[in-house]
Symmetry: D2
Subunit: 95 residues, 4 copies
């Protein structure tokens, strides 16, 4: 895989991804505050569960956009290595 491949995302997708990441960062900081304030484990575990779900939702959005744009375009252009790359990344994501 070459380094620093670039993908220009459209404004709406870009904002949606950044918003998701800002919220996730806030969730992680919230969890750290809970640990710092000696909050009960189960209450923290519930927040971690929410942060994991948010990260998973980000993952799905990015993956969906990737397939609809990069993968579809590359297949049309005859760059079949993108198919192989997608299959490999899915193997990792579906552990």
């Amino acid at each position: 895989m070459e380094c620093c491949k670039i993908k220009k995302r459209d404004e709406k997708e870009y904002k949606s991804l950044i918003n998701r990441l800002n919220r996730i960062e806030g969730q992680i900081r919230g969890i750290r505050n809970m640990v710092e304030n000696d909050i009960y484990c189960v209450d923290i575990l519930t927040q971690v569960s929410a942060a994991t779900a948010a990260l998973n939702a980000f993952n799905k959005e990015l993956l969906g956009e990737h397939i609809k744009s990069c993968v579809a375009k590359d297949i049309r252009d005859g760059k079949d290595e993108t198919v192989e790359e997608l299959v490999n990344v899915l193997q990792k994501l579906m552990r």
Copy 2:
């Protein structure tokens, strides 16, 4: 579940949890940088995968400590509702 239950964690566990969260926050910020710099989807997905694994490791550590301390102690003290609570939180975590 009562609000704001407290758990005093020992120094070593506390530091380990905070370190994990600091690293995860750094990973999330790194992912946002990648989106801001139009980095290729697959490279971002790989980083998200690493952040998810780190969050999962935090989860396991916290859960393990919870069982060894809170759950074991409460059972010994006859507070059987902590068992029910643990089973419920596991149902959520194992989705």
Copy 3:
């Protein structure tokens, strides 16, 4: 871990577990029929998804019963190694 440790489950729990396993076996056989009849991948993937969810539900039920009976009892009896064992099995299940 010693070999062939035994646990007598009560009638209701036993039947529930066996029923779940019978249904899962039927689902796996159904998926094989689909492959044998050259059914479209996406339709098979949907069934695999259902079978995975059923296996996960079995897992949760068995784990919940384990904690409520074996783990709680062993802690009360001072056999703290069951706590360690539970933490280890959860590490595996939460991969």
Copy 4:
């Protein structure tokens, strides 16, 4: 999604999928035997974990083949609805 769409798989892929399913069916039957013989929960949970991993491996193989054949072909043929369908099935699989 239309009913009973067909996909002719090549001999090697077909055999690999069927072998995986036969093994998984055996694993499920093995787990039922364990329940019938009152085997200790943790030993059963370990087997369930193995069966889940095997089902996941089947899933990945089928999905990989689907993308390399059906999805790639349909995109080349201008049938873009297969992309949408793939994205939807991945949302379900990545829960």
